[in-house]
């Protein structure tokens, strides 16, 4: 038993899914093999913007081995969008293509070679249209309009205005404005996207695919295929990473289902690495102009921020993506007066979604500018952060109460363990140290799909099965559910089986995006297991002639507290319950305490999330001034995760966050372009960190025991991924005595920073700022 009195939770136990993953037994989507299965391939637009005049599929259909060819004409014309008001993406293009890679047609054939040959035989007539590839050009009044109903290509406009920003600026001892730019980054989860669909004679269809919310996928597919929701069965499958890139709905699953329905046979579509990059999601490019005013101690009195997000061709999670960088920031730092204008802008580029370090230019901009202000005022980076850091019991500017917050402890611990102030003042040539802070949510108001439910059933041998809608993308959610159930039921983890993420069987869950799985799904399973335990105690109390309140469940036994010697086996209680006609069936549900009236655009105020995680990262680097290459020496990171249900898993999330957010995200990950074509869609040209790139990482777990979380747990690791990017940015700048404002920090930009070094506290590059836009009301 651990010091906190727990048997299974709070311990670094191996994950329940790791054995099957170590032996190759774990089945990913592309591994599925069904009888008579066909292979699907997708024909994509070669143009960034063009009208489709005609599609001739006659020759493709006539090819031997081809079973179906579909185009936009074969669809019901339904458009996908996360919100009713952002439905802008035809799942197979009907009239127009809007980026290089947009889905135009698809085939199902007996094998890959035949499917590829069929694609070659499809003739598409296009009329090329002028295209735009960046926010400033897309916003020009005479820019080509990508979606007719969106003037100036403004897809989403978010406005938040709290306090009196203008008056507050007048009270400030120092005001500065800087502009920060970040280019597009990508997920590069190791598993390329894949879908298997199997339609049945009863009108139902089974679908397997990597996903971050089986229930959301099923709902979208039911709309697009015009099938009852209860006939779209998204099945559980092992998922090879997500990082935000599996949250949305893609044409791939719709196309595969459509082909399967057409052929009456199972169909498999496996994306190439390039397709995974271009035709699922990538990260937004972003321009952020930040004006900050502080008092002479460096406390932020007012902030005014304008962001342009390059959203690509379609909305995706648009309103959320536009808001989240601001929301993370308002959770992290105290401010009474703050204004934010966020614009997501359409361009003729692939569709952008939320990524692990979504909003690099925003978060890194805030922390870089904070260091600039600190230098102007003669304050060190740690002190200025401590003066502005969020404390528990406070509310964010948009009205979220923060019940638990260990941000100050995170700052203090990372600063102390890294010996920050000493290293910062020593200033060794080309060596730098930097700190970043961030905070993330545990879920958003998501209406009827915002909560989670679970069941626990018992087998005759005393083993249990947990049934939950929570999906595991690789972060360890399956294990989290089992570990929690084990604790509540007093059963070893190996006695508990899990059935999850299957929309036919498992109840609703919010999905693994927005970091809610532990908080929502974990709480639901905890309650279901507690309910089952209460039923067990009810039956056992009769057998033991004791009050149910005096009973203990431990190690497959039930006994009266203090009398383990007279324990009865759990198996016996379960069988007795069956005999009595009272089978043990635990039921639990959890709905987070959020303000369901909160809306991203029309009402951005109220409780956003029930709990927030907070993190601080310190990075130490050495820069080679000849080559512009950066060697990260050491990363010290601390996150308030509420309670570490499994410290080894939590550390793994921190370490992964450092790799993707800091090492990769800040030192090199970026897409390069030529007229809407991605020049580096594959792993040969887009460099993600290898083991040889990684610095030593010291993870520090901070626990604040959130009052709403399961055993106090919140989420594990996202605040580190975000703050790591900020820490890397500041460390590299610190090494060279400059302030970078163009991310990621590639060798070219670092060398430019050295060459363009100018006196004064200023950013390296001059960019056109993002300014407030007049937004015309949308035509209905």
């Amino acid at each position: 038993m651990s010091e906190k009195g727990f048997t299974y939770i709070g311990k670094s136990v191996p994950r329940v899914d790791s054995h099957a993953k170590a032996t190759g037994e774990a089945v990913f989507t592309a591994d599925l093999q069904l009888p008579r299965m066909l292979v699907a391939k997708v024909l994509r637009s070669p143009y960034p913007h063009a009208r489709i005049l005609n599609i001739d599929t006659t020759r493709a259909k006539a090819l031997k081995g081809v079973h179906a060819v579909v185009t936009g004409r074969d669809t019901a014309g339904e458009k996908w969008g996360v919100f009713r008001y952002t439905r802008d993406q035809q799942l197979l293009c009907v009239d127009k293509v809007r980026y290089v890679g947009d889905e135009v047609a698809a085939v199902a054939a007996v094998d890959e070679e035949t499917a590829m040959e069929a694609l070659r035989l499809i003739q598409v007539e296009y009329e090329e249209l002028p295209a735009v590839f960046d926010c400033h050009s897309a916003l020009e009044p005479d820019a080509p309009r990508i979606h007719e109903e969106f003037p100036r290509n403004i897809n989403v406009a978010v406005k938040i205005d709290v306090g009196d920003v203008e008056s507050a600026f007048k009270q400030c001892a120092l005001v500065r404005e800087d502009t920060f730019v970040a280019e597009e980054d990508s997920y590069f989860m190791t598993e390329p996207y894949a879908v298997v669909a199997n339609s049945h004679a009863d009108g139902s269809v089974e679908v397997w695919m990597p996903n971050a919310s089986p229930h959301t996928k099923a709902k979208a597919l039911s709309n697009a295929l015009r099938l009852p929701l209860s006939k779209v069965n998204v099945r559980k499958v092992t998922i090879g990473g997500a990082f935000g890139g599996r949250s949305d709905v893609f044409p791939a699953e719709f196309i595969t289902c459509l082909l399967s329905v057409r052929c009456g046979r199972p169909v498999k579509l496996v994306y190439t690495r390039e397709e995974n990059t271009i035709a699922t999601r990538m990260g937004h490019a972003m321009i952020t102009t930040i004006k900050t005013g502080v008092d002479k101690e460096g406390r932020v009195l007012a902030r005014d921020i304008v962001s342009y997000l390059d959203g690509g061709a379609y909305s995706s999670t648009g309103p959320i993506a536009t808001s989240v960088p601001f929301l993370c920031h308002e959770q992290t730092y105290r401010m009474d007066n703050v204004r934010f204008h966020g614009y997501r802008v359409y361009t003729n580029k692939p569709v952008r979604g939320m990524i692990r370090i979504h909003g690099r230019s925003f978060a890194c901009g805030i922390d870089t500018q904070l260091d600039m202000i600190a230098e102007e005022l003669g304050i060190d980076p740690v002190t200025i952060r401590l003066r502005n850091a969020r404390r528990p019991g406070e509310s964010t500017p948009t009205g979220s109460y923060v019940a638990s917050c260990g941000l100050v402890e995170c700052i203090e611990k990372t600063a102390e363990r890294s010996d920050f102030l000493k290293k910062y003042s020593e200033r060794k040539p080309n060596c730098g140290i930097g700190m970043g802070l961030n905070s993330v949510q545990t879920g958003f108001p998501l209406g009827i799909r915002g909560g989670s439910q679970a069941f626990v059933k018992f087998h005759e041998d005393g083993g249990a099965t947990v049934i939950s809608g929570v999906v595991d993308n690789g972060q360890g959610n399956d294990n989290m559910l089992v570990q929690i159930a084990a604790e509540e039921l007093g059963l070893p983890m190996e006695d508990i089986r899990l059935v999850s993420a299957d929309t036919e069987v498992t109840p609703t869950d919010a999905g693994s995006y927005s970091m809610i799985s532990t908080f929502g799904g974990g709480n639901a399973v905890k309650r279901a297991a507690a309910d089952a335990r209460a039923q067990i105690f009810e039956v056992a109390s009769e057998m033991l002639e004791a009050d149910p309140d005096d009973l203990v469940a431990k190690n497959r036994k039930i006994f009266v507290r203090g009398a383990p010697a007279s324990a009865i086996p759990l198996e016996k209680v379960v069988r007795k319950a069956l005999l009595m006609g009272r089978p043990i069936m635990g039921r639990g549900s959890f709905n987070p305490d959020v303000d369901q009236r909160r809306e991203w655009i029309t009402n951005p105020r109220g409780q956003l999330s029930q709990a927030f995680s907070f993190g601080a990262t310190v990075t130490e680097v050495e820069v080679d001034p000849e080559t512009g290459m950066v060697k990260a020496r050491k990363v010290t990171c601390a996150q308030d995760c509420g309670f570490a249900l499994n410290p080894m898993v939590v550390e793994g999330q921190f370490e992964g966050g450092v790799a993707m957010g800091g090492q990769g995200g800040m030192l090199g990950e970026e897409h390069r372009w030529h007229k809407g074509h991605v020049l580096n869609p594959s792993l040969l040209e887009y460099k993600i960190p290898a083991i040889t790139d990684m610095p030593e990482i010291e993870p520090i777990i901070v626990e604040t025991i959130d009052p709403g979380g399961p055993y106090g747990a919140k989420e594990a690791g996202m605040s580190i991924a975000m703050s790591a990017a900020q820490a890397y940015a500041n460390a590299v700048g610190n090494a060279l005595g400059v302030y970078f404002n163009h991310f990621p920090l590639t060798p070219e930009r670092i060398l430019a920073g050295i060459e363009n070094k100018k006196p004064g506290i200023r950013t390296v590059f001059d960019f056109e700022p993002a300014r407030v836009l007049e937004v015309e009301p949308r035509k209905p």
Binding site: T23, F28, V270, G657
Partner: protein
């Protein structure tokens, strides 16, 4: 194109199959033999997910023609565990939390096994060099390094 006969040993068993001359080792193992523990992450030899051992040397099966390994001994992740249990490298990966999504795991484990077979007591630098061609997007590699150290010290 006409198929040709490929004879080899896979996970200790002798196998003889007719394969297309342009079939990759990855396709042969996954599609003909059903060894789906061999993963395709990029199809161009960049990510290392498809790593298998050919005569105990790590090879990227996605860019290796199947016929090239005629007469060789091939080991995939399915060939490591025995009736007694997991291979020490597998065991260490499980116990040290070196596995998250698991897609890179088979290739990573095989690269690590090959290293330890050649060099039972590697330094951290030697471990990193041996695994430099296997990308992992989840773990940040810290727990993977720890797992290989554990397997090397025989404490797995």
């Amino acid at each position: 194109m006409k198929k040709q006969i490929l004879s080899l040993t896979v996970n200790g068993e002798e196998v003889e199959r007719a394969v297309l001359p342009y079939a990759t080792l990855l396709e042969f193992l996954r599609e003909d033999l059903g060894l789906t523990g061999v993963k395709e992450g990029c199809g161009e030899g960049a990510c290392g997910a498809c790593t298998v051992l050919v005569n105990n040397v790590p090879v990227r099966s996605c860019i290796t023609p199947a016929l090239e390994v005629d007469g060789c001994s091939v080991v995939t992740v399915e060939g490591l565990a025995t009736a007694e249990g997991l291979h020490p490298v597998q065991q260490a990966f499980v116990e040290r939390g070196a596995i998250q999504c698991g897609f890179c795991t088979p290739g990573m484990i095989l690269s690590a096994k090959s290293l330890l077979d050649r060099n039972p007591q590697p330094t951290d630098e030697e471990i990193k060099t041996a695994l430099a061609g296997n990308f992992c997007r989840c773990t940040g590699y810290a727990k993977i390094l720890e797992a290989v150290r554990t397997a090397a010290s025989g404490q797995g």
